[in-house]
Amino acid sequence: MTFKNLEKIAPFVFIGPAVIILFLIVIFPMVYSIGISLSEWNLMRGGNWKFVGLRNYYYTFFQDPDFYTSLKVTLIYVATAVGLELLLGLGVALLLNRPLKKIGIMRTILVIPTTMTPVVVGIIWRLLYNPELGVLNYFLELFGFQKLNWLGDPNLALPSVIMADIWEWTPFMALILLAGLQSLPKEPFEASIVDGASYLQLFRYITFPLLLPTLIVALLLRVMDAFKTFDLIFVLTKGGPGLSTELLSFYTYKYGFKFFHMGRASALSYILFLILFVITQFFLKYYRSGEE
């Protein structure tokens, strides 16, 4: 091939490999998964696929009350955890958005929960929540309260997992929002201070509107991640007690790799996929409007 020809196909040489790999290892399996979701196929019992049409979806939507429980738990989890993380993260970001001497070290500390292995986060909180030897119950007793069965009580398990999630991800929110705050233009603030605006007015009319794009990006990123939460549940509660912490991702995993009911698991995974697809579209639209 001549130099000119090689130059002509350059876009394909550069971009092609990535696209081909993504097609082979993401898109093709996902299409294959549609096929599985339309079949009756139990890995344990062996045998072949049996095409059953939409029966798996029908079962999930109309005959499986556990699905709705799991969906409800997931929505409560995502809304509460991400909501609180956003509020607390904004608080921390505002707190640190001052001339501080040790801001470098503070940033390094903030990133610890975010980049720590999620399984280790689960282990840490299991240690803290342990009803017999956990330090949280020790503090409760110290201040004269009753010990709590943090992860074993059906009413308390979900809030406990949410608290671990908040510990893990609030610093992430704070880091992003802090970066957002520090990149805001200075002029509107100076002008309003000269005009005698109070701190709250500054926040309400200047900081918040200017920070909103960053806030939305952080929020959407977190919502998408929270829907996928799996590791924390696996280590802390395995979905229990009962179904009180059964997030959709864990429920899907259980159908696939505990019951080996691949058809139903694939149907469930497509429902989760569609929920995330819709949120992703919002994110992409928002991201794109910012780029253009």
Binding site: A10, M30, L95, F230, L272, T280
Partner: protein, 277 residues
């Protein structure tokens, strides 16, 4: 400003207190893990918790004998390293191509790649498990390398894309005028220019691969197991081996914390895939 100096001092004092509380709240849990890891098992199981004890380091050595923790560390290291280099190679080529060649729908292609990043892992693991099973790749590091490297490509493309966009066009154009092909411009000019970006991207993809749990749980058995899966192995029917699990947990997380300290400058960019600079 007409706030008195005294009032301002009180406000700053309270803000300092809140800041300290926030950081204690962040640091306390990992510190508890570290404390447990240097306690003898009897001390770790004592209630009320003992705060003063003779620290020991033997838990860190014992985990290598109790379970083949060394093998798991090596597995994690191999899988994370190889998948990071592959993702950087394929990802940087694609990122360069997407920022330099303007063709119809090149923007759509970029966003299509980004959207793949959002696929829930539990949805892709089912078909991938079945495919790997058919290919007889279960419990082999190859399966994990393939999975991690692929799922890191969208991240790498997007982060590197933001670095390539920062290179002034003129530098590349003058190389082209001097007779460089796109290929040699890429390897000799552009890639070296974004070296810090490559390093930051690599650090992130390494951390993602090191920390990943679901794929490792399902695609590996005893041989190819990685550290996160091995950690959950300390939770047994007979009880949890707290101090050993804590020691293994510390070993799993410390390298990642050191790594992120290296990527400090590009941290937020990395955490948001370039959406926020």
């Amino acid at each position: 400003m007409n706030i008195s100096l005294g009032k301002r001092k009180t406000v700053n004092f309270f803000l300092a207190i809140i800041t300290i509380v926030v950081f204690v709240f962040i640091l306390f849990p990992p510190l508890m893990l570290f404390m447990t890891s240097i306690k003898r098992n009897v001390d770790a199981l004592r209630y009320p918790p003992v705060w003063i004890f003779r620290p020991i380091g033997s838990n860190y050595l014992e985990i290598f004998n109790l379970i083949p923790f060394g093998n798991y560390l090596i597995n994690s290291l191999i899988v994370a390293t190889i998948s990071t280099f592959l993702a950087l190679f394929i990802g940087s080529m694609a990122a360069y191509g997407l920022t330099r060649f303007q063709f119809r729908r090149s923007k759509d292609l970029s966003f299509w790649i980004l959207s793949i990043r959002m696929t829930p892992p539990v949805a892709s693991i089912i078909p991938i498990f079945i495919i790997m099973r058919t290919l007889k790749l279960l419990d082999s590091p190859i399966a994990l390398v393939i999975a991690y490297f692929t799922f890191n490509i969208p991240f790498a493309v997007w982060l590197l894309r933001s670095f390539f966009l920062e290179i002034p066009r003129e530098i590349e154009e003058s190389a082209m005028v001097d007779g460089c092909s796109s290929y040699s411009t890429f390897f000799r000019i552009s890639l070296p220019l974004i070296a810090p970006g490559l390093a930051a991207t690599g650090i992130f993809t390494f951390i993602f691969s090191w920390n990943e749990f679901l794929f490792a749980l399902i695609l590996t058995g005893t041989r190819a197991q990685t550290v996160p899966v091995a950690l959950t192995g300390f939770i047994r029917e007979t009880g949890i081996m707290w101090s050993h699990m804590a020691a293994a947990g510390v070993l799993a997380m410390v390298p990642m914390i050191l790594f992120t300290a290296l990527a400090q400058k590009n941290l937020v960019k990395g955490l948001t895939m370039g959406a926020i600079k």
